[in-house]
Structures are given as structure tokens and as C-alpha cells.
Amino acid sequence: MAEYKIDDHVDITDVVCPVTFVKAKIAIEELETGQILSVHMNGGEPVQNVPRSMKEEGHKVLKLNKNDDGTFDLIVEKGEE
């Protein structure tokens, strides 16, 4: 993750769909265009849906890192409002 300067983190491992995306969306709405959010999520449904929903909202998915414990970190750059 060192290749990106992360502006904010949000942990969505404690919630389930659709609140996973809602929490991520709330976090990215707080940022400015071009800033970068890291989203910590569980494998399975969130990994399938949250990156796709982020793209649909006009944000740029930079990277999805898999962690050793089975969780993922999604790196997203905020798009134009």
C-alpha cells in the first residue's frame, strides 16, 4: 500500500450488505476529488460488490490488496462530484 498516499481509512468488516457500501460511500463523500480512501473489508460479498459500486459512482478503483487473514483493502480514488 506504500505506493499510495491514503487520505482516510474506513473499516466495513463489522457490517453486512448493503451497509458495507453505505459506510464506504459515506467515507468517500467526505473526501475531495483525487483524494484516496482505503476500505477494509471481508472477502466474499463485499469484495464482489463494493469495488463495482464504487466504479458505478464514478470513483477510480486503484488496487485491491488481499491480506493474510482473508480480509481485503480496497484503494479508491475519489472521482468528480
Binding site: 448493503p18 451497509v19 453505505v22 459506510k23 460511500k25 459515506i26 463523500e29
Partner: protein, 269 residues
């Protein structure tokens, strides 16, 4: 203002929507709507607006809940019969969503109170059941430059239109004056199918929410009619501006609010 976890969950289906999002939901929470009439139209409108998290909702009605109301006025329950409608409505709205502040006005609107009632609200919903009130609400909203949703229901039919100051015709542009006293059957005689209030009142709530969010196109410059028996919706284009309109035209003759004489009515809406 940050959302609590409970709010995130409560409004999740809104926040997911691109047209709403966090900003839109906050807008709704900071908005206010006045619903005039806690009857067939006002009931679903009030419930949806409360559920949506419109932060301040005013409700005006002088009546008490009657057993004959319950076939369509779904905000009231059997236990509420005899209770002031505004109180019964407030209890239901607060039970749906404690985020909402409900202001009750136990009165019918008239020329001497309406300007004061509407002045602090962002949007007005006309859920009344009689022509004098409909013309009064229209004229007051034109004069106070307030957007509002007009609607009316009878039998298996309903209609609505939205007025936004400066953007389209008002109710009086289209309907000019109240009809002669016996031209339209009284509500009591005519009857109304219960779900009609649900269809049209929900559309009024939708118009209010869209206005507050600034999303999509409003029903300005159109009259939408619904015939349930034919299962037909018609969207009728209205003139953009009626120069001869007595209240919003070039030479208005209605410069003060009018209390038209009210026909005997059981309050079907």
C-alpha cells in the same frame, strides 16, 4: 453532523442512491414540509415523508378521527377514533421515525391563518378535500412564493400537479374559480376507493422529496390524472403561463386571500 450507526442503517437505501447520497439525506433531515389535511392524501404523504427523514413535518387539520376515515386514512388506527387527527398522525410519524420533529396545527386553513402556517416550510402538500381550501392554498402559496403539490381524489379518480413559483402555472391558472356549489357531488355522496389516497398521496410525497433533493423533473406545467378503473395515467401538458390568471397573471385581481363558502362535506379525502 455525522450520521449515527442507526441513521446509516435506517437511511441506507437512500444513501446508496446516487441522487440522494449522504448530502441528499442530510438535506432531507434539514428540510421541512407542511401537510394540510391529515386525511386520505395527507396520511400516506406524512408517513412516507416521516420515513424518509424529512426533519420537520407540520400537519394541519381540525378534525377528529372518525370510524369512516379508516378505510383510507392509514395513518390512523381503530384505537384513534375520537382523537384529534393531527395528534394521531404525529404519534404514527414519530413511531415510524424518531428523527422527525412533528408540529401539529389543530385548525382548518383560512385566510387569517394560512400565511402564518406556511411561512416557515420549504414545501406544502395540499391534502384537503374541498375547493375553497384548494384555492386558498394555491393563492397563499403564489403570494408567499412557496412551492406546493396540489391533489384531489374522488371515486376511482385522482389528479395532481406541482407548483413552483416562477416555473409554471398555478392551480388557478388551470381551474380559475371554485365550481358552482352543486356542480360537483359532495364527497359524502361520491365515495372514494381507499387505495386512491395511497397512490396520489404517495406521488405528492415523491414530488416533495424530489423538490427537496433537487432531483429529476417535477410535475410543473403538467396535470397528472389517474383513472383506476381504466388503469390509465395521463400526463396533460398545461400552458407555461396564463397571463390572465387572477392570482399569478400580469394583472392579478386576487390580491387578498379569499374564504370561499364551503359546501357541506363529510371530508372524503
Amino acid at each position: 453532523m455525522a450520521f449515527s450507526n442507526e441513521q446509516i442503517e435506517r437511511y441506507s437505501r437512500h444513501i446508496i442512491l446516487k441522487e440522494v447520497g449522504v448530502k441528499g439525506q442530510k438535506k432531507l433531515l434539514n428540510s421541512s414540509v407542511l401537510i394540510i389535511g391529515a386525511g386520505g392524501l395527507g396520511a400516506p404523504a406524512a408517513m412516507y415523508l416521516a420515513a424518509a427523514g424529512v426533519g420537520t413535518i407540520g400537519i394541519a387539520d381540525a378534525d377528529e378521527v372518525d370510524l369512516s376515515n379508516l378505510q383510507r386514512q392509514i395513518i390512523h388506527s381503530t384505537n384513534d377514533v375520537g382523537k384529534a387527527k393531527v395528534l394521531s398522525a404525529k404519534e404514527t410519524m414519530e413511531a415510524i421515525n424518531p428523527d422527525v420533529k412533528v408540529n401539529t396545527y389543530r385548525t382548518f386553513v383560512a385566510s387569517d391563518n394560512i400565511m402564518d402556517l406556511i411561512k416557515d416550510y420549504d414545501f406544502i402538500i395540499d391534502g384537503t378535500d374541498n375547493f375553497p381550501a384548494k384555492f386558498l392554498i394555491n393563492d397563499a402559496c403564489v403570494m408567499a412564493k412557496k412551492p406546493f403539490s396540489h391533489a384531489g381524489i374522488i371515486r376511482f379518480q385522482g389528479q395532481l400537479m406541482t407548483y413552483v413559483p416562477g416555473e409554471g402555472p398555478c392551480y388557478r391558472c388551470v381551474f380559475k374559480d371554485p365550481p358552482p356549489k352543486d356542480a360537483v357531488p359532495t364527497c359524502k355522496q361520491a365515495g372514494v376507493i381507499g387505495a386512491m389516497g395511497g397512490v396520489i398521496g404517495s406521488l405528492q410525497a415523491m414530488e416533495a422529496v424530489k423538490y427537496l433533493l433537487g432531483a429529476g423533473d417535477l410535475l410543473v406545467g403538467y396535470l397528472l390524472t389517474y383513472d383506476a378503473l381504466k388503469m390509465e395515467f395521463r400526463k396533460i401538458k398545461l400552458p407555461k403561463k396564463v397571463k390572465s390568471c387572477a392570482v399569478c397573471g400580469e394583472h392579478p385581481t386576487v390580491t387578498e386571500l379569499i374564504d370561499y363558502e364551503q359546501a357541506e362535506c363529510d371530508g372524503v379525502l
